[in-house]
Amino acid sequence: MMVNTLDVESLKVIVFQLADKEYAIPVSQVQGIEKTMHITRVPKTPRYVKGVINLRGVVTPIIDLRERFDLDISSDNESTRIIIISLDEMEVGFIVDAANDVMDIPKESIEPQPEVVGSLEEEFISGVAKVGKRLLILLHLDKVLNTLK
């Protein structure tokens, strides 16, 4: 999926913030960005599954990406957002520190090189893109979601 998106001239992505790094998800996989709301805890699920929310009548599971990537957990504040993504008929929300931007990444600026980051979340990364002074980490959504099973 991610490999295919690399073939196009440029990739439209949503850029969001987790701790001190910027990540990107293709717009095509994003359903919407929500402010934080009440989350109902679901017992006996992995630590990073925060629970479920009522997203306009649809019960949607929420994953805290900060916990998923073992990052420092900052408490929720005004800029905290839930990014709703859709993949293989699954709808899941990611808690992120902030949703920063929507931008086009030129194809040639994407390097499928995760070593640059060299941290724990390595397996979830499909590539990195340098846009100006910013370093964007492209996420491998399949892997972020699938390891639960």
């Binding site: 109902t40 017992p43 006996k44 599954v49 479920v52 009548g57 019960v59 639960l148």
Partner: protein
């Protein structure tokens, strides 16, 4: 012409036309001389032909055309209806259905049907199939047999024969009520009550139901067995008010038997003519209307037409979702209104709440569909299977108007097909065996649907061989489903349920129809996945009863909301026995398991806060505990919660594809305040 936009409508309508064709054909089989039915089928076929030609499905149009030719010949009385001809027409309709289904799944609707076309051509050319001639002759003889007022099936004939052997008299009684009789049903009741004191009524024409609904003119006929002399009966009956004339005439079994032998192929003809004069007139009138109508108005063979429009189920789902959002906003509005305490605002909010409540009911009932949509394909299936299996089976359908949620309807079809096939193959015996056992040759399968409380029951009852305990057990042991030790201690019901386990088949001869050992276990799992269950009752030699219990709807259930710390959970009312408050001192320990004595039974306690790992700010040590007693079959458990909130109807939601198999949680719902509450799966908590 771009026809794509019409494709969906075409498929839907074709299916409807074919369905009403099948129904009419079954009707025609019972009343082969009723040309009004032929006209009905002809019109349906003609419309179908027109539509498929317009849409460019040549094969479909062509086969319909050939079938139409045959129907036209029957309509113009060039050929007589025989079972052989009907077989071929049925076959054609089957082919047409396959073609339409192919088109629906994106195919081009092409199919090789040359054999059927050949047969249709033969019929059209008048190449009479051998059996038909004799049938016609027999039919003719019955029509000139005036001595017998009623028609009897095998069973009734046997009863008459046996009672004659025991010196009972059989009479046919014709009762004529006064023309100005106002309470016909009451008079009928009085007549029957009187007769039942004197002997036994074996049959009436019209049927008792029709008599009770006053669906007759002024005459009705009764077959009656008694030891009383005819004159006495006549005198006694005349004493009933408003009875004008009574004729009691004795009948002889020999005469009856001869008369009935001839009518085997054409039962009910006479009766149908007597009972449905109005319907026939209506049908004849509608024949004059142009055959190919452009509007999709249906005139499906005698069914009452209601004004309907087609709505995609997806739109209803969207409507439902939107409505739920409205409910959530309504909740917010209510809390704002109560804070502001503004009388006009309060009034408006209250009225809005009422209206949205009504709206909710309407939206939910919109999703309800009569089970008829599933049941109506069975008569044809049974007819076909009985021919393949060389059995005689009568399928009776009761309660087809019972409504179920659309999602349940979509799933329930296949399990029922399996069960009916199973009943036909393993349940009902062959005519020879049945005769040897003293049963009527024709077996009966009753398919029944009805509402009861929050559930819908679908039952399949046959009067066949029943389940042989020994045979099932030895099979189960040989297949390794149970051990001999366990088998010995099993109750009959448990043994019956073994036939639903996977890898099980007791048929000695593996037939085409069933006996591959897959099927019944699929039935069980499908029904359980719908939140229902299936039980089997069976008496060997007498028959079996498969009873399926289903929730009325998958989307709305009644729950009890409970609170644990700050979290709210929903417990389905269907598994709750009662709620109670217990003292800490009443809790006992048994094998490291806390239990209570509940009405003389030892019930294990399940502390939901521990199971669900609810974060507590401070440990609670209260003297009283709120307990919800739940059950799963015979077993019970007490769920300990912090407090009860109350009972509520909730909309059932899945947790989504990401969170599957969460322990002891079967789903979620959205509460009035917009928050999500989880639904407790009691079955998982009871070991």
């Amino acid at each position: 012409m771009d026809t794509n936009q019409y494709l969906e409508v075409f498929i839907d309508e074709s299916k409807e036309h074919l369905q009403s064709c099948s129904e009419s054909l079954l009707e025609l089989e019972k009343n082969p001389n009723d040309l009004a039915i032929v006209n009905d089928i002809f019109r349906n076929a003609h419309t179908l032909k027109g539509m498929s030609a317009t849409m460019g499905f040549e094969d479909l149009a062509d086969l319909t055309h050939k079938m139409e030719n045959v129907l036209d010949a029957i309509r113009n009385e060039k050929i007589k209806v025989t079972p052989e001809i009907l077989d071929v027409v049925f076959e054609s309709v089957d082919h047409l259905e396959e073609m339409v289904n192919d088109i629906a799944s994106g195919g081009d609707g092409k199919k090789d049907v040359s054999a059927t076309v050949e047969s249709l051509k033969k019929i059209e050319l008048g190449e009479v199939l051998t059996r038909s001639i004799t049938n016609n002759e027999v039919a003719a003889t019955t029509n000139v047999e005036p001595a017998v007022l009623l028609e009897y099936d095998d069973f009734e004939l046997t009863v008459i024969q046996q009672s004659q052997e025991q010196d009972f008299n059989t009479y046919e009684i014709s009762v004529h009520l006064r023309e100005d009789c106002l309470l016909k049903a009451a008079r009928v009741y009085m007549v029957f009550e009187l007769l039942e004191k004197l002997g036994d009524v074996i049959k009436s024409s019209p049927s008792v139901e029709k008599l009770e609904e006053e669906q007759f003119d002024n005459d009705f006929y009764i077959a009656f067995i008694t030891k009383e002399p005819a004159e006495d009966i006549e005198k006694k009956l005349l004493k009933v008010s408003e009875v004008d004339r009574v004729i009691v005439q004795p009948v002889d079994f020999q005469v009856l038997n001869q008369a009935m032998l001839g009518t085997v192929e054409t039962p009910q003809v006479e009766q149908a003519v007597v009972e449905q004069p109005q319907q026939q007139v209506a049908k004849k009138e509608s024949v004059d209307a142009p055959a190919a109508k452009k509007t999709p108005a249906k005139n499906g063979g005698g069914h009452a037409t209601s004004k309907t429009i087609r709505v995609n189920i997806e739109r209803l789902d969207i409507l439902m979702n939107l409505f739920e959002e409205l409910v959530i906003d309504r909740g917010r509005l209510q809390s704002i209104a109560s804070e502001l305490n503004h009388s006009e605002l309060n009034e408006t909010v209250e009225r809005m709440s009422r209206i949205s409540g009504d709206l909710q009911n309407i939206i939910l009932t919109m999703r309800m569909v009569p089970v008829e949509t599933v049941f109506n394909r069975f008569p044809k299936m049974v007819r076909q299977l009985t021919r393949e299996l060389n059995k005689k089976v009568n399928l009776e359908i009761i309660g087809a108007e019972t409504e179920l949620d659309r999602t349940v309807i979509d799933e329930i079809g296949d399990p029922l097909v399996h069960l009916i096939r199973n009943g036909l193959d393993h349940g009902v015996e062959s005519p020879e065996v049945r005769r040897a056992k003293g049963k009527p040759e024709e077996g009966t399968i009753v398919l029944r649907a009805y509402h009861s409380g929050n559930h819908v029951f679908i039952e399949l009852e046959d009067d066949g061989a029943g389940i042989n305990r020994e045979k099932v057990l030895s099979k189960a042991i040989s297949k390794g489903v149970v051990t001999p030790e366990v088998a010995a201690s099993m109750t009959d019901n448990q043994v019956n349920e073994l036939i639903l386990s996977s890898g099980f088949s007791t048929a000695d001869v593996i037939s085409d129809v069933s006996g591959r050992g897959v099927g019944l276990d699929v039935v069980k799992s499908t029904i359980e996945s719908l939140g229902g269950n299936i039980t089997i009752e069976s008496t060997e030699g007498k028959g079996s009863l498969f009873s399926i219990q289903l929730p009325l709807t998958l989307s709305i259930i009644s729950v009890m909301l409970v609170e644990i710390e700050k979290e709210i959970y929903a417990i389905p009312l269907s598994s709750i026995i009662e709620t109670s408050i217990i003292r800490s001192s009443d809790i006992m320990n048994a094998h490291n398991q806390k239990v209570i004595d509940f009405r003389g039974k030892v019930v294990p306690l399940v502390f939901l806060d521990e199971i669900f790992e609810v974060p507590r700010n401070e440990a609670v040590d209260e003297e009283f505990h709120s307990v919800v007693i739940v059950r799963k079959g015979e077993k019970m458990a007490g769920l300990v919660v912090d407090s009860f909130i109350g009972q509520q109807e909730i909309v059932l939601k899945a947790l989504g594809n990401y969170l599957t198999n969460v322990f002891a949680i079967s789903g979620a719902t959205i509460l009035g305040n917009g928050k999500v509450a989880l639904i407790v799966d009691c079955n998982a908590l009871i070991k």
